[in-house]
């Protein structure tokens, strides 16, 4: 079987197209590359949508934690503490079983036990908490002069937030937020290791890497392949966020533009 044939058979296996049975024996390098790469679709899917939705909630949580209203401040702080203080691994388990229990009582929760929605929600809440803390930190370090200038121009309320505070917050938070994004993509690998079932063996990259490692008793091929894919993904994320960073700081003269300093997090 040629490599091209393998790619046609297994390239979209993770989302359910192509050959139904996974390869059973005589694993070729090509099969491993194709299947693990096909699993990356899920990692990208989880990471992308969790980040996209999480960005808005994170802004709300960050602003909430800095709010002067005691009720809002407390609830935002607790949200952040709960999701940052406990392992994501346990959150996945808890989320899965919570949805399972809800499902047996209300039919509405049927899709929530599937990974594509349930895990996405857990990841979404988790990244909102982490990014919320980052945004809160950025809000605290907005230069006093900026807000005073806004006041002097007579900007108030929503306009003041949209024109001055929010852009400055993003500018300050962006390097840390980039780390958070990288880190979120890494933690998408946890999804199928927890309760969420890989329906019809449609799993993520780690799921397939583990499959190969279990079948061949040789971790030295699938895991480095997985690592390679993740390094590429990380580089893509860094370059995309770098572009946004450039746009956020486009008003500054060339030399003063802050560079992204990346210090990836380790685990959550």
């Amino acid at each position: 079987m040629s490599c091209w044939q393998t790619i046609q058979d297994y390239g979209l296996r993770a989302v359910g197209y192509g050959e139904r049975l996974l390869p059973r024996e005589d694993f070729t390098l090509c099969e491993q590359f194709t299947l693990i790469g096909s699993g990356m679709i899920w990692n990208v899917y989880f990471g992308f949508f969790a980040l996209l939705a999480g960005f808005f909630l994170a802004t709300a949580v960050g602003v909430g934690k800095a709010s002067s209203n005691r009720l809002i401040r407390k609830s935002a702080s607790w949200f952040i503490f709960v999701f940052r203080g406990s392992p994501l691994f346990i959150q996945f388990f808890f989320g899965y079983f919570l949805f399972l229990t809800l499902k047996s009582n209300y039919a509405f929760f049927d899709p929530f036990t599937a990974a594509w929605l349930g895990a996405l929600i857990v990841l979404f809440l988790n990244t909102s908490a982490y990014a919320g803390e980052i945004f809160y930190g950025a809000l605290q370090s907005i230069p006093k002069g900026d807000t005073e200038a806004a006041d002097a121009y007579g900007l108030t309320g929503w306009k003041r937030f949209k024109r001055v505070i929010w852009p400055t917050m993003l500018r300050l938070a962006w390097p840390a937020y980039t780390n958070e994004a990288i880190f979120l993509f890494h933690s998408t690998t946890l999804v199928f290791l927890t309760g969420f079932p890989a329906w019809q063996q449609r799993g993520d990259a780690l799921y397939y890497a583990q499959y190969f490692a279990d079948k061949t008793f040789n971790p030295f091929i699938p895991y480095p392949i997985l690592a390679g894919y993740f390094i590429v993904l990380t580089l893509i994320v860094i370059s995309l966020f770098g572009l946004i960073n450039r746009r956020l700081n486009r008003h500054l003269p060339q030399g003063q533009r802050p560079k992204l300093r990346l210090r990836p997090n380790l685990i959550r």
Partner: protein
């Protein structure tokens, strides 16, 4: 009962891993500062290699890799006249005497072996992170201090142990306390390494029980078990935060840093 034991397992893991990882990190950071180039490369590679890749992949990789490395070494030592290759296609074959642990060993040996492999894996991965933190901390110690030590005629080794190491902790502590939090949150991953830890027992005990097999039948309680675990971890994180804050305050005492200055003024 097993659940309580497994909580103890988690605590033991933390208790053993933290010092071992710190030792690994210390060795790595010292190596990365070494004047001897190959040693420096080893240290720097060790620090650099863990970044950019999901740590879960590392955990899964190291456990099999370590296991196979140990068996392979024992195989070479114990069965010199074995002619077949170790890697036969998809199988990893070593002679009976080299199996680790031995096939006839009692159950607790198997469990202890699995646990030690897990500890070693954690120590290697977190050692790299700790090495990174300590390397930064060593560089943060004001250079004048080291020059003064040299001016007093201390040798490189004396400078390292008597001046650099005592002063670096205050710079290292924020990073290390971060790492400790991460380590706490990484402990559920033991489950993936095949150790019967809290996650395993929460799943086992929480599942539906029928009156036929147990005296205490109940429905699917796994949700509540995991909620309890969540609270346990939250409480643990909170306590660690408080303790580490105190430790930081103590270490800052008398240091030539902004926080130390503030403490002096407040007193």
């Amino acid at each position: 009962m097993n659940l309580y034991w497994s909580v103890l397992t988690v605590l033991t893991l933390l208790g053993i891993t933290a010092p071992v990882a710190l030792a690994f990190g210390f060795a790595g950071a010292s190596a990365a500062r070494s004047a001897f180039a190959p040693l420096r490369w080893i240290g720097k590679t060790y620090i650099a290699i863990v970044r950019g890749v999901p740590d879960i992949a590392f955990f899964l990789f190291f456990v099999i890799a370590l296991d196979q490395a140990i068996e392979y070494l024992r195989h070479r030592a114990l069965c010199p006249d074995w002619s077949e290759p170790v890697r036969q296609g998809n199988d990893f074959v070593v002679c009976q005497a080299a199996k680790m642990p031995l096939g006839e060993a009692p159950q607790w040996v198997h469990e202890t072996y699995g646990f030690s492999i897990a500890v070693l894996t954690f120590a290697i991965v977190y050692g790299a992170f700790a090495a990174n933190v300590l390397f930064g901390a060593m560089r943060a110690v004001p250079h004048a201090q080291l020059e003064t030590a040299a001016a007093y005629g201390m040798s490189t080794r004396q400078t390292f142990w008597r001046v650099l190491v005592p002063q670096m902790w205050v710079f290292a502590l924020p990073g290390l306390s971060n790492l400790w939090m991460l380590l706490i949150k990484a402990t559920p991953l033991l489950f993936l390494l095949g150790v019967e830890d809290v996650v395993y027992w929460a799943r086992e005990l929480g599942g539906s029980k029928t009156p036929r097999f147990t005296d205490y039948p109940h429905g699917d309680w796994r949700m509540w078990y995991f909620l309890a675990l969540l609270v346990f971890y939250l409480a643990f994180t909170r306590v660690s935060e408080v303790v580490l804050d105190r430790l930081m305050a103590r270490l800052t005492h008398g240091q030539a840093t902004a926080a130390g200055e503030a403490q002096r003024k407040a007193a």
